[in-house]
Structures are given as C-alpha cells and as structure tokens.
C-alpha cells in the first residue's frame, strides 16, 4: 500500500513580531491553506493543532482552539507537542488518520506568539525538570548548546567563524524575496563578524531570533486529491524518531549525555537517524533530493545538517557551502526559503512551514527563490527532549 498522501493546500501568516494573539495568526494561515486547496472549512474532517507552551491554556489545546476560532464544525480534533518538532507531530497525526482510512481530508495548523530574547522555562521550582535544572544550577541557555556544537565543528573539521557567517550570508540572499520572511535584507560577511558575541564562537547574527508566525496545510488521501486537482505534491515520508540509547552527544535541555559505559553506541547517531528514517520510508536517498529545508537554529548547525542528512561526508560541509552547491543555482540548494536565519523561530509552526516551502518549490511557485525543476525535497528538524522531525515531499 502506498504511504503517499497529498498536500492540497498551504498557507502562512508572515513571520515577525506583530504583538497579536497566536490564534489570529493560525486562523489566517488556515484560511489561506483552505483557499489554496479549494476546500471549505466545513468539509475538513480532522483538525491537527501544533501546541505552543507560551500562550496559556489555549496554546496547550491548539487543535481545539483553532477549531473553535474557525467555527465549531464537529470535526475530529488533535493537539500535539514536540518542542521545535511540534509541526511534524501534528502532520504525523493527520497522515496516520488519512492512511488508516479514518478521514479523507485534514487541516494541520501551528502558530506562535514568542517572547523577546532567550526562551526560558515556566515558573516554579522543579529540580526534577531538566529544563529548569540547567538554567538554575548552571545558567545554560539554548545558545550554549549551539556554541558547543560550533566549537566542536571548528576543532574536529577545521570550520572557521567565516564559514559560519557565510551560511547567514547565503540564507539572507535566499530569503530576500520571500513574502513570509521576517528579515528580507542582504547580510554581508562583515555584518555577521562584527555582531556581538553571544555564545562563543557564535555571534548574534549566527543565531536565529524568536518570532511570531503561523503555517497550515490541507492534507488528504490521494483519492480525495484526484477529485480536486491533478498532480498534487505528495508527502512520501514522515520521520518522528527518538534517539537510541545511549546518545553520547549533549542535547538540549540536558546537563549530561547518556553513558557509553557498558552499552555499545548505536550504528548511527540520533541526528543522522532522523532523515535516514524518512529516506527509508520514502524509498529514496539524498541523491534523489532537489532541495532541503534544514533547521538552522545557528549557522554552524546548518553545516552539521548537511552531513547528517547525507548531502556530503562528515567534514565536507564547509566545502559544499564554499563551492556554492547549497546556494540557489547549486546542486542541492539548502534553505531556499531563507531558513530560520530569515524567519526566526515560531516553534510549533516551523516544521509545517518547511513543508509549505517544499510544496511551493515542487509546484514551481517559489517566486524569486525557485529551485529549477525541483522533483523532491527533504526537511529536517529536531525538538528538545528527543524529537526527530523529517518530511520528504515528491511530485
């Protein structure tokens, strides 16, 4: 049985700092996705919401919140959370319902209104919560982990701060004409290199901002899609894997890794396993991809992803970047949308937004940033506490 489902419609609320409720952003994205799909709200059979933990109770029950805002219709509802990978969780719920024949057409929505500055844990004293513990006893923020990975890359693979800055320069050019991007301004190498140090060796312009934004998808069975359109973009794989014990890489929000003593390491590491599982499910490999949308929480992390999703062997990411292979016009453009560098992070919307970009690219509708002749694309993302996220789209 084919595991394909159709992406009938996509929609976004532009990223930024708009000072409004996440609900309105989500509704706007949903209305755009419905219009794009040519499907009416009353015909949606399942609403899968991606939760936000920074917007009170309505954020924890996002599926119902959006369903109420769109007008109670009696649809089935689901709300999921997986930190930065939340969107993939919501997509996975919708896909499983469609593939099981439990519904024909579903609406997936993720939206956030983000605070300024560092993300911080919820209030109260909770020593058993690793997220609370790392802030309280060591003052360790998310950029701490980005800095550790970047320094490790410099020491192991000889990356330089100029290489990291070059990722930002590339992504800033990609996002110039993206109407949903928050930052649409060309950034020069010197701009990055002269921005303030945040988590050595990373500077302010190496690290993504936190944003408001929303993204939505109308997903359906292939049979339903054929009654509405010809040749829709398909989702061919969704990976939501956890790590395999022991994970010897320090991960947010932990203060320590698993122990390698007494237990052998898995064949491939967690970050490598995320897209690997999606390729397996799709029956495709990195060589089949026309583009990739990767989670560039920092510039250095984008380079790590090149290797972890199989675009090049370990240690070759800097060369791939320098040779222009991951720029528009290159062999495998990465983050043609502009990535988090141009969007900033709207947590529950982000993995959904990655699929919106693949859809526009595979339809040939990515004006000003089109990857010519795109046939297949892969997204990758990771949520703290062990959430893998990777989606493969084909046409």
């Amino acid at each position: 049985m084919s595991k394909d489902i159709a992406v009938l419609g996509v929609g976004m609320h532009p990223w930024g700092k708009w000072g409004q409720s996440f609900i309105g952003y989500g509704v706007k994205a949903a209305m755009d996705a419905l219009k794009d799909a040519g499907v009416e709200w009353k015909d949606i059979q399942l609403v899968a919401g991606g939760d936000t933990i920074r917007n009170g109770y309505p954020g924890f029950v996002a599926g119902a919140t959006f369903a109420q805002a769109l007008g109670w219709s009696g649809a089935k509802v689901s709300s999921s959370y997986g930190a930065c990978a939340t969107g993939a969780q919501a997509i996975s719920v919708a896909r499983a319902n469609i593939l099981a024949g439990l519904c024909d057409v579903a609406l997936v929505i993720g939206a956030d209104a983000a605070p300024k500055g560092f993300f911080a844990p919820a209030g109260g004293r909770r020593p058993e919560d690793p997220d609370w513990l790392r802030f309280h006893v060591q003052g360790i923020t998310n950029p701490t982990y980005f800095g550790l990975y970047a320094r490790r890359r410099m020491e192991i693979h000889g990356a330089t701060q100029e290489d990291f800055a070059a990722v930002k320069v590339k992504n800033s050019r990609h996002g110039l004409h993206n109407p949903n991007a928050r930052y649409r301004k060309a950034v020069a190498l010197e701009d990055v290199m002269s921005s303030v140090l945040v988590a050595d060796p990373l500077r302010l312009l190496d690290i993504c901002a936190t944003s408001d934004g929303a993204a939505a998808l109308v997903l359906s069975s292939m049979d339903f899609a054929r009654r509405h359109t010809t040749d829709p973009v398909k989702i061919s794989a969704v990976s939501t894997v956890t790590p395999v014990y022991p994970n010897d890489i320090i991960e947010m929000p932990n203060l320590a890794t698993d122990s390698k003593a007494g237990v052998g390491l898995p064949e491939i590491g967690f970050k490598e396993s995320i897209a690997h599982r999606a390729y397996e499910e799709a029956g495709l490999g990195p060589e089949d991809m026309s583009l990739a949308e990767v989670y560039d929480l920092s510039t250095a992390l984008e380079l790590d992803w090149y290797e972890q999703i199989g675009l090049c062997p370990a240690g070759d990411a800097e060369k791939l970047l320098r040779d222009g292979e991951t720029s528009l016009g290159g062999r495998i453009p990465v983050n043609p949308s502009g990535g988090l560098a141009c969007f900033g992070e709207a947590v529950p919307a982000q993995a959904i937004a990655q699929v919106c970009e693949l859809t526009w690219q595979l339809r040939g509708q990515a004006e000003g940033r089109q990857v010519e002749g795109a046939k297949a694309g892969v997204t990758v993302n990771q949520g703290l506490f062990g959430h893998g996220s990777s989606v493969i789209c084909t046409v």
């Binding site: 950029p143 490790r152 203060l255 390698k260 003593a261 007494g262």
Partner: protein, 150 residues
C-alpha cells in the same frame, strides 16, 4: 556572612566536600551503565530491565569535549550576579563513566584559556545567597599544570 549555612542549590546532585567534591550518580547493577543526575526507577538501556542501582561518586576529572561562553545574562531561574559577569561553559567527558557533563568554568577563566581535550577537575562555587544560606553548584576548572589528581 560567616553565620550562613552552605548548602547545594539543588539537593542530591553533588557532595559538599570543599576540597574534593564529587557529582553523585547511579550505576545500573544489571548492565553497568551510569546516570547523572541519578536514575533510581528503571534502567534506561532498553535491553536492560534492572531496577536496582548503586549510588556512585563520579570521577572528579575529565577532558573537555567542547566549550562556549555565556556573554549575555541567562534568564530566571538562573540567579545572576549583579552586574552580570560573562562566564565560560565546558562540556567535560568522564572516561570511566562515558558521560559528558556540562558546567560553568570556574574563577572567571575564559574560552581563550580552554581547548578540546584539556584536563579539567570538579570544584564547588557559590551560585547565590540569601539571608540564611549560601547556595553552591559545581564548576569545571582546568587542572593546574604539574598538579596531581586521582
């Protein structure tokens, strides 16, 4: 100041031995894997169903896996010094336990003095204080050249 009691910022993570403090972990009596912070319920190795753990004092020394800095004040629940003083952070790999553990770097030692593979030792440092207590946490500190440690 001298009347205040010295206590850990969070109980059960480390010993308060001022000269040779140790992080407190557990070791599975089945497969031998280690946990920090201590795991007491069920071994997290999926091939092991052991529920019996031995409490262990982890190695005091290890080697730098990577390092970075906090140039901006972290938000609460961190209690920052006023004015905020930037600090370095190291991920230190303990060989015996096969665990990498994060910690601030002691004594204002910055990233310029650090390198991957550098030997580090565990020390205690004041985190903050109130009217009755001085609260402590662990830091990593480069092992002084020529010094000997177990």
């Amino acid at each position: 100041m001298t009347d205040k009691t010295h206590i850990p910022a969070v109980e059960g993570l480390f010993t308060m031995d001022p000269s040779e403090p140790r992080l407190i972990g557990t070791r599975c009596r089945g497969c031998g894997t280690y946990f920090f912070p201590a795991e007491q319920t069920l071994c997290r190795n999926p091939a092991c169903d052991q529920t019996d753990f031995e409490e262990v004092a982890l190695s005091r020394t290890g080697k730098v896996w990577s390092y970075t800095s906090a140039s901006y004040k972290p938000p609460a629940p961190f209690v920052a010094k006023d004015p905020f003083e930037p600090f370095a952070i190291a991920a230190v790999e303990l060989e015996t336990e096969g665990i990498t553990i994060l910690g601030q770097v002691a004594d204002g030692i910055g990233v310029d003095a650090l390198a991957t593979g550098m030997p580090m030792e565990l020390v205690l440092r004041e985190l903050y204080q109130d009217d009755e207590h001085v609260y402590f946490t662990w830091n990593w500190k480069p092992v002084a050249a020529g010094a000997t440690h177990e």
